[in-house]
């Protein structure tokens, strides 16, 4: 079932993908957008149209409602939307295979923009596999899509803007947060001084953060700072949370524990395609190597938004527009001079919205014990592999994640290493005295998600019938 080839196939309908699609249509390109969610919006603007229709969007904040404009412009731009379609393979030449859960289809693009966003950094701590332990992002998804809010006894542990944002959002919606265990170890005054220029230029974002803090203080949400060694305890479910702060161990009953240590680019797809990636020491993650228009070292493949580099929603939107310009120029639809002329103001916007990034990266850098956990902590949830087993593999001669994988099965489960990859790289690098760049990442092979035979059969039938 091959649809006509599109000039541009966009994978991901978050701010980056939506802005790219609209911009590309404006330049006259034919565009298809593929997203595994039932409706466009991405992570930040998830279910924004539903929330608006149900009268919940305003309570979710002005930033959230900004997404409504993007989504509406997209619906009017004339791009073809494949909603509820998960892309499971992208070929370097631009062929995209996607499934709606029943059947697969082939969508061909002369250029493909990968705009699949970020994933939350894994938070390997003792007890993180217990039911009742979830990520903050997961709880936020439940809130945005169906208005679910945490009840009594739910703790948040971690750091980063999303923890405060989410807690404030829940308090405003009438939910409960038992307390926030703040694991940030960057010291605020010193970090702010080091990034004074960015903090001044990004004052709007700073003001917003202070607003969240004020709201949490008003609601009397307990905040513990300088937290280390968070642990979830319980029989078959989280029942208690334990942590250390100021050298003292403390414990509290818990009905749930929400973890978050920032987000990292979702590089699964670009790695499977074979794009070059580099280790980003400031953000402690791999990211695809691109030029200023998001063009990768593979001619037909471009990248925009948080899957290229963590920049937040407004930067993602700008990067989407820049990638559309890059795609149009590389297809000869606009000249390089025209591309650069149109890019100027967009790049100025990127630097305005990105002003605070260095400060945030520094303040919320994940603690060493989370990147390189102690021996008994489970790293690979699917196969039940601990950090100790990874070190053991290293001591037996494994030099990289792929060797560790064949040796221990670490990363071989259904999540394909999405949940353990960053920890495996960091743990190996520390054990071998190498850099993460030298150690590398798991080799990713398609399909990007396990498929049932039926999903493939439809594709084979359609191809045979063509």
């Amino acid at each position: 079932m091959s649809d006509r080839p599109f000039d541009l196939v966009v994978i991901g309908g978050g701010p980056a993908g939506l802005a790219a699609a609209s911009q590309a249509r404006q330049l006259g390109l034919s565009v298809a957008l593929v997203d595994e969610q039932p409706a466009p919006g991405g992570q930040i603007y998830r279910a924004v149209e539903r929330a608006e229709a149900e009268g919940r969007a305003t309570a979710l904040g002005e930033d959230y409602r900004h997404g409504l404009g993007l989504v509406r412009a997209f619906h009017e731009c004339g791009a073809t939307l494949f909603a509820s379609h998960q892309a499971w393979q992208v070929e370097p030449g631009g062929r995209v295979f996607a499934t709606d859960g029943k059947a697969s289809r082939l969508i061909e693009g002369r250029r493909v923009l990968v705009a699949v966003g970020a994933i939350e950094r894994p938070v390997p701590i003792r007890g993180w596999t217990l039911p009742g332990v979830m990520s903050v992002g997961a709880a936020q998804i439940l809130h945005k899509t169906i208005g679910l809010v945490p009840d009594a006894g739910v703790w948040i542990a971690g750091s980063g803007p999303l923890t405060l944002h989410f807690a404030a959002e829940i308090v405003a919606a009438g939910g409960r947060i038992a307390g926030i265990l703040d694991t940030a170890h960057g010291r605020l005054p010193e970090t702010a001084l080091r990034h004074l220029g960015g903090v001044v230029r990004g004052w709007r974002y700073v003001a917003r953060g202070l607003g969240y803090l004020a709201r949490l203080r008003m609601a009397d949400v307990r905040r513990v700072s300088g937290v280390e060694n968070v642990e979830a305890l319980g029989e078959g479910r989280v029942e208690r949370v334990r942590w250390r702060s100021g050298g003292q161990w403390q414990e509290a009953p818990a009905s749930g524990l929400l973890l978050h240590e920032g987000v990292v680019p979702n590089t699964h797809m670009t790695m499977a395609i074979g794009c070059a990636h580099d280790w980003d020491e400031a953000q402690k993650c791999f990211r695809p190597r691109t030029d200023r228009f998001g063009m990768t070292d593979v001619e037909a493949i471009l990248v925009a938004g948080d899957c290229g580099s963590i920049g937040g929603a407004r930067v993602a939107e700008c990067r989407g527009r820049l990638a559309a310009l890059g795609a149009a120029a590389s297809l000869g639809v606009i000249s390089a001079a025209e591309r650069d002329r149109l890019a100027g103001p967009v790049e100025a916007e990127v630097s305005a919205h990105g002003a605070l990034r260095g400060f945030l990266d520094d303040l919320y850098a994940p603690a060493a014990e989370l990147c390189v956990p102690p021996d008994d902590v489970m790293v690979c949830r699917c196969e039940g592999i601990t950090a100790g087993r990874i070190r053991e593999a290293a001591s037996l001669g494994c030099r990289g994640p792929n060797q560790v994988k064949s040796f221990t099965r670490c990363g071989m489960g259904p999540c394909q290493g999405r949940m353990c990859g960053p920890t495996v790289t960091a743990t190996l690098a520390a054990a071998l005295g190498m850099t993460p760049q030298e150690v590398g990442a798991f080799r990713i092979r398609p399909p990007l998600k396990p498929l049932r035979l039926g999903e493939l059969a439809a594709l084979a039938d359609a191809e045979a019938g063509e």
Partner: protein, 95 residues
């Protein structure tokens, strides 16, 4: 852990572990299991431990459920339909 959502007039009636549960439209099957109050949604085929949805965005594969008799469905990525039958996944390495 989560407060029972207010009953929406357009709530979707599904079956979780054989019990009828009304969930908001647009909920995922994994969300329905959480609303139904399941303590866990699967047991790990490797370690035998109980597990439950962790990321709700298609990354962790902890939400594997049996949906309408089809095993190993990624529950957080499947939107509920009226009459959907959702069950815990016990062990079975299906993927």
């Amino acid at each position: 852990m989560f407060r029972k959502p207010p009953e929406a007039p357009d709530a979707v009636l599904v079956e979780v572990e054989g019990r009828p549960v009304r969930v908001p439209p647009g909920a995922s099957a994994a969300a329905a299991a959480l609303i139904a109050g399941l303590a866990s949604t699967r047991t790990s085929p490797v370690t035998g431990e109980p597990r439950a949805p962790y990321c709700m965005m298609g990354v962790c594969f902890e939400c594997l459920l049996v949906i309408d008799d089809e095993p190993s469905q990624q529950g957080c990525m499947v939107t509920v339909r009226p009459g959907m039958r959702i069950r815990r996944q016990e062990g079975a390495r299906e993927l």
